[in-house]
Symmetry: C2
Subunit: 198 residues, 2 copies
């Protein structure tokens, strides 16, 4: 059984997708041990509570110890807007998963988070965007890519409308899928690339 | 009727896709007036001949006059490895279409052409790539995007295998589609972005 700690800063819709996938059996062999937020009022903590999952609040300095207390096998960043301390990244190498709302290497790196990603896509006039689940390394969105899924940009899209479509059509599908693969030992990292075992 | 001049340097598989789409009626309201190659031995010239299309050879310095002689409404770069002179780009603003074998802005710009694009995709470990048809401006792959199509990267892909899949699943579909839209007056460029009229 893979014990997951989910790190969040906001509403927690990706956390909800994970919880739903575990309850429906889309993710097997895993459970959410705790949800840790850097913000007391993150709605994600409410979601955790509703499903009987422990919720914790931790500032950056307390983060490592708050995580270690739970002894997780996997950390999932689900809209976590704090840059992870390097010691956490080293301690949990290839055991931290992040979701980014674009097709990396497009519209990623410093400054590209939340709506800014979708503003970038629309401002370049792209017709296809998507989302990426990747392992976290010391860089910003530079870690090994696990899954990507493309999403169409449609005429009249605003950043908000596009954000919602990318969540619904990509993020809420590939994040649970990646967790399921991890939990069942299907992900192998070799030379900075992810091999998905069948 | 839209008169097209196709510029090529090599085998001309994208030229073939255009010819086939015109013959099958996938592209309406357009014909290939001439094929111009910078190389005498480009197989694309053979393809043109087989279909009764005029073939010409022109070096960079003669290119503008060779094009002007044909009086085209649209220039299509179909694997043309010469940087277009600026005067051509200005003369045919928003009337030059290029196909690039990635999802711009990923893996584009100087140095990214042919197999190098696919090597870049595999070396980053991307799981999704694709192709982009765009209007040509003064930059390298910076012009307004007309259509993009995503293509899956699969386990075991080599650059050659991936190149072939991107051609078959994306390039040979979206290039004819873009030409058909152009020929039927469906493409409007506003503030560097392409609006596709329905």
């Amino acid at each position: 059984m893979t014990d997951i700690v989910v790190l969040v800063s906001g509403g927690g819709t990706n956390l909800q997708a994970i919880i739903d996938a575990i309850e429906s059996g889309t993710i097997t062999n895993a459970r959410v041990k705790a949800v840790i937020s850097n913000k007391e009022d993150a709605y994600a903590l409410e979601r955790a509570k509703k499903h009987g999952i422990k919720g914790k609040v931790a500032k950056k300095a307390e983060l490592l110890s708050a995580i270690k207390e739970e002894g997780p096998d996997l950390l999932v960043l689900a809209g976590f807007l704090v840059v992870l301390p390097e010691e956490i990244i080293r301690e949990y190498e290839n055991r931290i998963i992040n979701i980014h709302p674009s097709l990396i290497p497009s519209f990623c790196g410093q400054g590209f988070y939340g709506l800014r990603v979708h503003e970038g896509v629309l401002s370049r006039g792209c017709k296809v965007t998507g989302a990426t689940v990747h392992f976290v390394d010391e860089g910003t969105d530079t870690g090994p890519i696990i899954i990507q899924k493309a999403v169409e940009v449609l005429p009249g899209d605003t950043p908000e409308v596009l954000q919602k479509r990318v969540m619904e059509e990509a993020e809420w599908k590939i994040l649970p899928k990646a967790i399921d693969l991890f939990s069942n030992g299907k992900l192998v990292v070799k030379e900075g690339k992810v091999e998905v075992l069948s």
